[in-house]
């Protein structure tokens, strides 16, 4: 278990900056998830912490020790790869024992450690099998087992569940969470799946185009995104964004768009003052929209698609020329082509600067 510190890490590939000024402090035993779309630099960042990529500039500390120029074998880390990277010519036992043999550990100790890890992961019956004789989920367990036996200071996981089917992914997510609770090891987990990030992380690092957008616990990321990108990336279905403009009315400020008229909450007035007269983006999550009338909002949306999911109904609607998704009760099923009235829970809505995407409120 160790603290990991990344200071001003930059990675360039020729003229392309893949990671720009990456700063992160990970506490002992913390489970950090780095999330972002493909090509955002999350795997590159993880590989630099692992020592598989050299950083262009910046420093990396593991357990208080500077490891920036050290090879992977000297960083006291273990890594789980997206495609498992099990050695095909070795059986499961030898895959898990490989690193211990390299360390010169006694045979009896190797045997004990491998069998302990195999028991934790329920792969005891497969120790004599080769990787090609295992299912995807079993291989992933072996990859985890190979990491566990090393008792490293830091676990690094690079999209370990990406190659599994949806059901197995949910199961393995729980397994990894239980494993972390049991072992208490510092873990850095990379994924493009925001559900994995939200369910597993102590803190989430959201990245875009090589730059960290926000670092916070899952609930803060969800409730208080710092910009439109973070707001759109976290949450399923994603947040709705409505281009609108401020209008000054006698009763106060209003946000106006096609078929939409929303009274702005009083508490927004101070922060939003400088945007009066300009174009902004209103962000509302699907679960914060109710299909009913209210005194503060006048919203008419055209129903295009209705998706009954059993536990809820997703309504895809059109607001003027803009798309909207509403999460409603399972018994509410409007007809396609129907005009419905909507209410936004403005205390949970956000306002974003149309040019920069930065959160105003």
């Amino acid at each position: 278990m160790a603290k990991v510190v990344c200071e001003h890490i930059v990675k360039k590939f020729g003229q392309v900056t893949a990671v720009d000024d990456f700063n992160l402090e990970i506490e002992n035993n913390e489970f950090i998830v780095i999330v972002g779309p493909s090509g955002c630099g999350k795997s590159t960042s993880l590989r630099m912490i692992a020592g598989l990529e050299d950083q262009t500039s910046g420093s990396i500390f593991i357990g208080g020790e500077l490891v920036s120029d050290k090879p992977p074998r000297d960083r006291n880390i273990a890594m789980v790869f997206q495609n498992y990277a099990l050695y095909p010519h070795m059986n499961v036992y030898d895959n898990m024992a490989f690193s211990l043999k390299l360390q010169g550990i006694a045979k009896d100790d190797i045997d004990r450690k491998v069998k302990e890890a195999a028991e934790i992961l329920n792969i005891g019956p497969y120790l004599e099998r080769k990787p090609k004789e295992l299912s995807g989920g079993q291989r992933q367990r072996v990859a985890l087992g190979r990491a566990i036996v090393r008792e490293p200071a830091v676990f690094l996981m690079d999209e370990p569940l990406s190659n599994l089917d949806a059901k197995l992914r949910v199961q393995m997510r729980t397994e990894i969470a239980k494993l972390h609770a049991r072992l208490g090891a510092t873990t850095i987990y990379v994924t493009h799946d925001q559900t994995e990030a939200m369910t597993m992380a102590d803190r989430i690092v959201v990245m875009k185009d090589g730059v960290i957008q926000q670092i916070a616990d899952p609930q803060t990321i969800y409730d208080k995104p710092v910009n439109k990108f973070v707001a759109s990336f976290i949450g399923a279905p994603p947040m709705n964004f409505i281009n609108c403009s401020f209008k000054v009315q006698t009763e106060g400020l209003e946000l106006v768009s096609d078929d939409m008229d929303v009274k702005m909450p009083q508490e927004w007035a101070a922060q939003a003052q400088k945007y009066v007269g300009s174009e902004v983006i209103l962000g509302v999550r699907p679960e914060n929209i109710r299909p009913e009338e209210s005194a503060v909002t006048n919203i008419n949306a055209l129903v295009e698609v209705v998706e009954p999911l059993g536990s809820e109904t997703l309504i895809h609607a059109k607001l003027g020329g803009q798309n909207l998704i509403v999460k409603a009760n399972p018994d509410y099923k409007p007809a396609v082509g129907e005009i419905i009235k909507l209410t936004f829970e403005m205390n949970k809505a956000h306002l974003f600067d149309r040019e920069t995407g930065v959160t105003i409120i």
Partner: protein, 271 residues
């Protein structure tokens, strides 16, 4: 069902028709190696005869073919082993570090006609007194064997997932030990292909051996000319010598044919 059977029969017939021009000369050589001179030149050809071992006796006892067999073996094994020792790490570096320019230079050696090296090789080795030595012949055979090995193995290493070596490095390997413990064991089929082809090239090589070898290092393809004189050609001995030369090649190919075919077609189809 009948159509499928008919199609199968036609395929087999076609295979036989195509195979005959390749297999017939081989069969002729083997049969002739057990015939006397008179039996070989008889027309019509004799298919039923009493076999004799006198040709093989002539080859191994009178012509001391064992010495030429030893020379060919030393040179073929030596050039193949040295080509592997140099070529495998070179191919790995070209593959992993995208050293395509270096790869092209190595392949240029393969593309140049071998005969263009002969005069410079002879002048160089005769200046330093190395004509008719194993060193000179091994070095010259490596000129083709090494690029062959590099060419085949670069493609093979390209197909191995990099994550395996990265996992090995995280587990505690250096780059070199990851190469030895993970990459090489997984490259068995590619190495077998490259080794077989490199060995066969060296074993069958005539041109370099003709110029650079003499009494001490004469190889089998050169030695076969011992049976050709102004007076006559000792066909039986020539055929027996040919069988001795061909046999290792056939045995190697039969044993490793699965890997050779796979190695040569590797990369043609994804997966």
């Amino acid at each position: 069902m009948r159509n499928k059977k008919l199609t199968n029969y036609l395929w087999y017939l076609l295979i036989i028709v195509v195979a005959i021009p390749f297999l017939f000369p081989l069969a002729w050589i083997v049969l002739a190696s057990f015939k006397t001179q008179a039996q070989i030149v008889t027309t019509p050809p004799l298919w039923i005869f009493t076999p004799t071992l006198e040709n093989y006796q002539s080859v191994f006892v009178d012509q001391q073919f064992s010495r030429f067999l030893w020379n060919s073996s030393v040179i073929a094994v030596g050039s193949t082993v040295l080509s592997l020792i140099i070529g495998l790490p070179a191919a790995y570096t070209i593959s992993r570090y995208k050293q395509s320019t270096l790869g092209v230079f190595i392949l240029l050696a393969r593309l140049m006609p071998g005969i263009s090296y002969l005069i410079p090789w002879f002048m160089l080795f005769s200046r330093i007194g190395m004509v008719d030595t194993y060193t000179a012949l091994i070095a010259s055979h490596m000129l083709v064997g090494l690029p062959f090995i590099v060419w085949i193995m670069v493609n093979y290493f390209d197909g191995l997932p990099r994550e395996l070596e990265e996992a090995a490095q995280v587990d505690g390997c250096t780059l070199q030990s990851a190469f030895m413990k993970i990459v090489l064991p997984l490259s068995g089929p590619g190495i077998l292909t490259a080794t077989t082809l490199s060995f066969l090239f060296s074993w069958n090589n005539f041109m370099f051996s003709l110029v650079l070898s003499s009494e001490h290092t004469k190889t089998l393809p050169i030695a076969i000319y011992n049976f050709v004189s102004y007076a006559e050609v000792s066909w039986g001995s020539v055929m027996a010598a040919a069988v001795v030369i061909i046999l290792p090649a056939i045995i190697l190919t039969m044993i490793f044919q699965k890997y050779v075919i796979k190695g040569l077609t590797m990369g043609a189809v994804k997966g």
